[in-house]
Point group: C2
Chain length 258, copies 2
């Protein structure tokens, strides 16, 4: 089962308990994801002593290799190591999403992620309805129960919600789909952390959506599962955008209030 904590961990804050490698990797990655280092910019191939942390060359080089594996940078002999164009970034990678969601996000980014969810999750629900084993159905049911039997917007609810979506993706029985789990979980988690107002009315709507999808999967009604999942995701997008705009306005007021 996926742990929420792994996704929650705020990267970038030079936590002493984290390995040097991770600190360096996070630092460079975030400065790329945030646009601080633009595409084509040179990435220092030796540790920069003036940047707080001063790792050895080994650590620095391994960090660069790690980032190049994610498509963020590319090394070319004689010309230097440079930031790759955005198109080369693997936005669906869990690490990249972590780094991306750690910084300031623009609305279109969120919309795009939800759009992808809209393509994936209804189809996954359709497959899950047909292919799920009894054991998988039971697990999904348990996750749903977890959402019903806890106070709204608590950690237990969030975990249950993540499990719910994660299990449906698993039940679809397509490993390629399972790889998209990270996108969905990250998006979900990020949007839930945003829900500031914690409106009980919205929550009960979301809960009803989840119940409907579950029932369709239970009854092995693929089309219905897909349709209900579509509205579930759409409702989620709506709530998230509302919260996002509220948060953005609050932020704007803060910045202009100087």
């Amino acid at each position: 089962m996926l742990k929420a904590s792994a996704h929650f961990a705020a990267p970038g804050q030079a936590n002493q308990s984290e390995s040097l490698f991770k600190q360096v990797t996070d630092k460079i990655a975030i400065s790329i994801l945030s646009g601080d280092l633009e595409a084509g910019a040179l990435v220092p191939t030796e540790p920069d002593p003036g940047s707080g942390i001063a790792p050895s060359r080994s650590v620095h080089r391994e960090a660069l290799k790690y980032l190049s594996a994610k498509g963020l940078i590319e090394a070319k002999q004689r010309s230097g190591t440079r930031v790759s164009p955005r198109s080369a970034w693997n936005l669906l990678d869990p690490d990249i999403l972590r780094w991306a969601l750690a910084g300031r996000i623009d609305e279109s980014f969120v919309k795009n992620l939800f759009e992808l969810r809209l393509f994936i999750e209804p189809n996954a629900a359709r497959l899950a309805a047909v292919r799920r084993t009894p054991a998988q159905l039971l697990q999904i049911r348990r996750a749903l129960t977890g959402m019903e039997s806890n106070k709204p917007y608590t950690d237990a609810i969030i975990q249950a919600d993540l499990d719910y979506h994660s299990l449906i993706l698993d039940a679809a029985g397509n490993p390629a789909l399972t790889c998209l789990k990270s996108v969905i979980i990250s998006t979900l988690l990020w949007s839930m952390r945003l829900q500031i107002d914690k409106d009980p009315a919205l929550f009960s709507i979301a809960l009803a959506d989840h119940r409907r999808v579950y029932r369709a999967i239970e009854e092995q009604n693929g089309d219905q599962a897909a349709a209900f999942m579509t509205s579930l995701v759409n409702d989620g997008l709506h709530d998230t955008l509302t919260s996002f705009r509220t948060a953005a306005i609050a932020l704007t007021q803060c910045t202009t209030d100087k």
Copy 2:
């Protein structure tokens, strides 16, 4: 534009002109992807002198970091570096696909990839129909022309086909979707390399499918674009499975003919 060559490059064959790093990475990765190294198995953290290539520790360690970035392995102090469970692998990563498709493939793997295409590409076509700029439309048209004006099953056709799908994904205007390009391109390329019989009848059907989708995008008819793209992918799956089974039978006969 995506180059086919990058995907074609057969990994694993200790090509002397390739960097040591790449040789080591490919070697380990393939032995994982092929199932030679099972999940949970220990990966040597020091270069193995008996394995043909004998890199230094740095190179070996950087290779491991690269693989850990792909989710293939995980290092834990005091317990060793081990192969991660399949569920942690990022199957949608271009490198992973390259390694996976380099070995023996089972039918279900191909089916799963096409299933994913079936979720993504029709939706992408729908978006592209609505969002495409005139310039993007022109590019897609050019790719289509490239498919029409060359001899079937030549490199030029393959390149044009790849461009066609790639450009539609781009025209959908969702960077998250663009990241799935590698899956689609890899799947496509792999299936085209499989078309042994090169049936002209099948090709003209495929061409007609491509034309229909293009026209729908031109007319900004999203639903039609999606529907036509669905049949395009389905036809592709059908052809690929046919070729695959032929190839598999040929292979079986070879192995039993001893």
